[in-house]
Symmetry: C3
Subunit: 470 residues, 3 copies
């Protein structure tokens, strides 16, 4: 609604003989919204209804006729009625013969019916050309010319001319048509608006489980242990201290998990000696949700940053600092300065800040509009080089944080090591393997494999082929 408002847009004054007439079956919300939008874009609209009377809500300029009368006015008919009522159309089979029927329907649940609505329609009205379209565009987006929702209209159908005409309408309405092939694609297209972040499901579940595990681990070490051993009430730590332990560990682990499938794939290619064999399904899926895993890791890193910056205004921290100062003042002991501590503390902060900074850069380049203006080489440079730099900085941040306490037996509580040790497992594994993989001798073989060379190729042909063709 930033640019155009349906109320102020003048109805078009195109002489009637030049306008294309499109018929819409159904005068529900969606039919009316689509009709209004099409009238604004210069189409002439005829509504088909079981009860042809002019509703006050219909866009002015539109006619309402019975189904069969309306169908005769146009060779494109948009079917804006519920699937349950498609059987009404069987009576019109003769009138609809050879016409283009546009199925815009959606279901309430995924896989609600054995076949897609569009295929069901094709069975009911065998003589017509069925095209699936518009179901991904909401009535609200049509009315408001919304910039806020997707403008991509997925289109499929068996008749390419019919599909072409529908795609022309889609384009005329200012939307982007995407041809998805034959009507078999309809069930996928119908599922699409029902999806709720499908690529985010695994990453979100994984990080939720990770967080719960880490939270319980930290509660045992930092709340239950001191209560059992020293009868101290440290429950308040669950509000800030423990989240600020869980979040960084989750962030670093997830960042490691983003780069782990890459090194596994490289090892697999080295072992197989070819890139022409499919990866196992789990690895494929893992690689496809690396972006989502990375963004969740960035979210945790962001939370860690704020939870850390908030430390000095916490009541507990102020109380502890003040009391330690008072104790020293009373005993008249100054605190000696340790340059080593200053170095370690400042380095640890610096690595953390720089790692966070590059992590945010990575996040920004994964915004669709930013990644769209970079070329393939730039995109890979950022995601690979900058990504590994981030991983190295964040791992170093954690290692220095541990500092001298690292693996010290004093930090064990009930044989549980400090939580930050857990954060280091995956990132360090990835970095060590990656370091081995970029050793010149191994890197050379890997590069050759990725350019199409095969170690165990039966003849020279495929090798030759790999070199001849792009």
């Amino acid at each position: 609604m930033e640019k155009t408002s349906t109320d102020t847009l003048p109805l078009t004054m195109i002489p009637p003989e030049e306008q294309e007439t499109v018929c819409i079956f159904g005068t529900g919300d969606y039919g009316r919204s689509l009709g209004l939008k099409m009238i604004q874009c210069g189409y002439s609209i005829v509504f088909g209804s079981r009860n042809p009377r002019t509703f006050s809500l219909l866009p002015s300029g539109a006619e309402v006729l019975s189904y069969s009368e309306a169908a005769q006015k146009s060779d494109i008919i948009i079917i804006a009625i519920h699937r349950d009522h498609y059987d009404l159309l069987t009576a019109l089979t003769e009138v609809l013969r050879g016409k283009i029927l546009v199925d815009v329907s959606n279901n309430l649940k995924m896989h609600q019916y054995p076949e897609s609505n569009a295929e069901y329609l094709a069975q009911l009205v065998p003589g017509a050309h069925i095209v699936k379209a518009f179901n991904t565009i909401s009535a609200w987006a049509l009315q408001s010319g919304a910039l806020d929702a997707s403008r991509q209209a997925f289109v499929c159908g068996n008749d390419s001319k019919a599909k072409q005409r529908v795609m022309d309408i889609v384009r005329a309405l200012g939307l982007t048509p995407l041809d998805q092939g034959s009507l078999l694609a309809a069930s996928e297209i119908e599922n699409y608006p029902l999806q709720l972040f499908p690529m985010w499901k695994f990453p979100l579940y994984f990080s939720a489980i990770l967080c719960v595990f880490l939270f319980v681990y930290c509660v045992i070490r930092d709340v239950i242990y001191p209560y059992v051993n020293e009868k101290k009430d440290h429950t308040f730590r669950m509000a800030v201290s423990i989240p600020n332990r869980v979040f960084p560990i989750a962030a670093l682990t997830l960042l490691g998990v983003v780069y782990l499938p890459g090194v596994i794939a490289a090892i697999l290619q080295l072992y197989r000696g070819t890139k022409y064999r499919r990866f196992p399904g789990w690895l494929d899926h893992w690689m496809l949700c690396r972006k989502q895993l990375g963004l969740i890791a960035l979210g945790f890193a962001f939370l860690h940053a704020i939870y850390t910056l908030v430390i000095p205004i916490r009541y507990y921290v102020r109380w502890r600092l003040q009391n330690s100062t008072i104790t020293r003042a009373i005993s008249k002991k100054e605190n000696p300065f340790s340059t080593t501590n200053a170095w370690l503390n400042d380095l640890y902060l610096s690595f953390g800040i720089l790692g966070f900074f590059f992590f945010i850069l990575l996040g920004i380049t994964s915004l669709p509009s930013v990644s769209n203006v970079v070329n393939w080489r730039e995109f890979r440079f950022v995601q690979s080089k900058l990504g590994y730099l981030t991983l190295i900085l964040c791992t170093a941040h954690t290692l220095i944080y541990g500092g001298k306490r690292f693996l010290s037996p004093y930090s064990l509580r009930w044989y549980l090591p400090s939580a930050y040790i857990l954060a280091l497992i995956i990132p360090c594994t990835v970095l060590v393997i990656k370091f081995i993989l970029i050793l010149p001798c191994i890197d050379k073989t890997l590069t050759r494999i990725r350019q199409g060379w095969e170690r165990n190729s039966k003849g020279s042909k495929s090798t030759l082929n790999g070199q001849t063709d792009i």
Copy 2:
């Protein structure tokens, strides 16, 4: 300029007989920029000028002729002259008969003339087909192939074939044509480049007034009151302390204002028993600028976050903490630890951080490129579920901040309650109403109404209709 540079782009070598010739009247900046761009995209250009001589600044390869000679070379003529000089064209009426005239002009002020420039042109040259286009594209954007400015060219005109040909040119130049209907839309299209954030006007004014009111309120309580009662100079609070009170209150109030029209609309629909009656104008307008209100609230929340994080490096805070420590050290009194205070303080910080985090997520999903890749269900999930979660967290943050002081008579100064109390009014109202609305009995009725059911429908027809059609 990231990808293409006008200087390095080779002129096209297409044999002349295959090129389409387009005529441009006027050799000003805009005419020249458009001509250069069109030559680069494979058109052959003839300039029409009152003083046909070859300027050094004209793109090489373009011809300059008199108006009437140039007009005969092409049936598409781009009119790149000021409206004030359109009367020159009346002399050419015969030559221009049947030609397509493209009006690219803009005005200096909104509603400067009674009719749009394009309509004025249509009156002057009655035999020609007038198409409005290109006025939203700046000369600079044309020259630089800029990715930084809008690439949307709004097109309107009465003759659909003429419009189609102009839209083909727009597309060939790498721009996105948007058909806006008949020439009546021209005045709106001409106003468009003159608009300055029209949807932001009301939200900005509203938040400016809110901020001024809150600032004055806080100055009275925190600066004038202590000065009058205790003769203390607290003016320095106006730099950080008071802004850090005004910003969070403004943020939370605006966030409440974002969700208030939604619950008002729901109440109205419940009261009326139908969704088929228009909301009052003010409610419609309010709902349309919710995104802008939310983003301003996010801005205030961001400022509040930084102003808060900066607290421990403030001179005043360091001075106060040091003096309290010194006083205690001198009197040799340690500060007793209060677990309740630690809990309240940490919870308040934690809720604030999490609320801020989800608020930023909401902000990111409102970026056009992000909202473009999510479907309608995902977009609503984020804006509604995540939005209410943010509102709940931020309200809880404010409530716990108040803590025990909440409504305590000691915090009244001149009968004025603490400022944060003001922040709670709208959010709490919204949350209470929303809680009532999602009670099963009320929610069921509301859902039925939103699916098209009407309580007081005269017959069964519209009810049936509401169920049959989408």
Copy 3:
């Protein structure tokens, strides 16, 4: 891969007689990926290969024939073989006569060969119409329907009909074709995927040199000077203190550098009395990378913000504060409160926060998807008004930071002034010149010049012209 998965996409069921057949020479990765994508979009594909046998990796439904057999099946042939093997095609000159050959190749290095691959192909197969396309689209992007990489396919060629047909294919695959003119553009298009952030090169080098210089400067003043004079080991300052001095200075200097070319250009236009003379090359280039300079400045500002917020949790800072408190407690001296210090400190923080806030707003509006929805007037308003506001706030922040120490001889060390003085040079220069330029008398002349007026125009014609035409 968010929306479509190659595995689940049904192969199209379009009857064969309606499908367009396209031939692909070469069965390498790229040829196969392109073939698969085209089959999914409804094309019929014939592969041409030197060793025509069916590979297991070829998309099902595709035929593999010898080059000459395959070429006869279609009049569009996509050449997916390496440039080194183009000479194989000379044998097929007769078969390829009049056909459209699409060159999709890329090189490994820029300017690897004297002529572009497409032009080389045109020499080898003189009777064919060569079109360059697809080289900017990666095989991976084709396979995954990736939203993450660029979807822009640059197209060029001498035959406009051939180019049109290739652009239709590009569009059918859901990509955006951009016509770049004749085949002469091929060498630029072939260089494009090899570029690595070309517009970022100068800004990055410039800021790297600036940072190194400032780092050395600060190390001399803050580490070497105290070591030489007082034998104190301040090396730990290199981890946080000195970066937090280098980053803000670099940020403010770069922000000044962003606005400097604008005022230089204005002075040049005033001096020359016309806007119709080209600026010198260095100024043009400088103006073109202002956005990149600004974003790097924002990065430094962001780092400065976090390095500053982290101050109170630094070991060194806590140690210093604690010791100063202990000393005062022991000597039983309270710290007197200075309202002036409180004012200066709070103002300095407040200006910094507000400057940072507006800087981030500027950064957000430079995101491609955001700048795409604002019009030209809004874009200039943000970039100019908001930009100068940011510059003023950040300069004020630095000036107040200096406070009373400003230019005090006590802050000189080895005749070197405090580092923040360096940060003020460029911004203050820009602001002073800008202030002079907006004085009414000068502003009026400048506005007239920018509207096309020329002081020393030889005749009245160009002046008149400047007023008549847009």
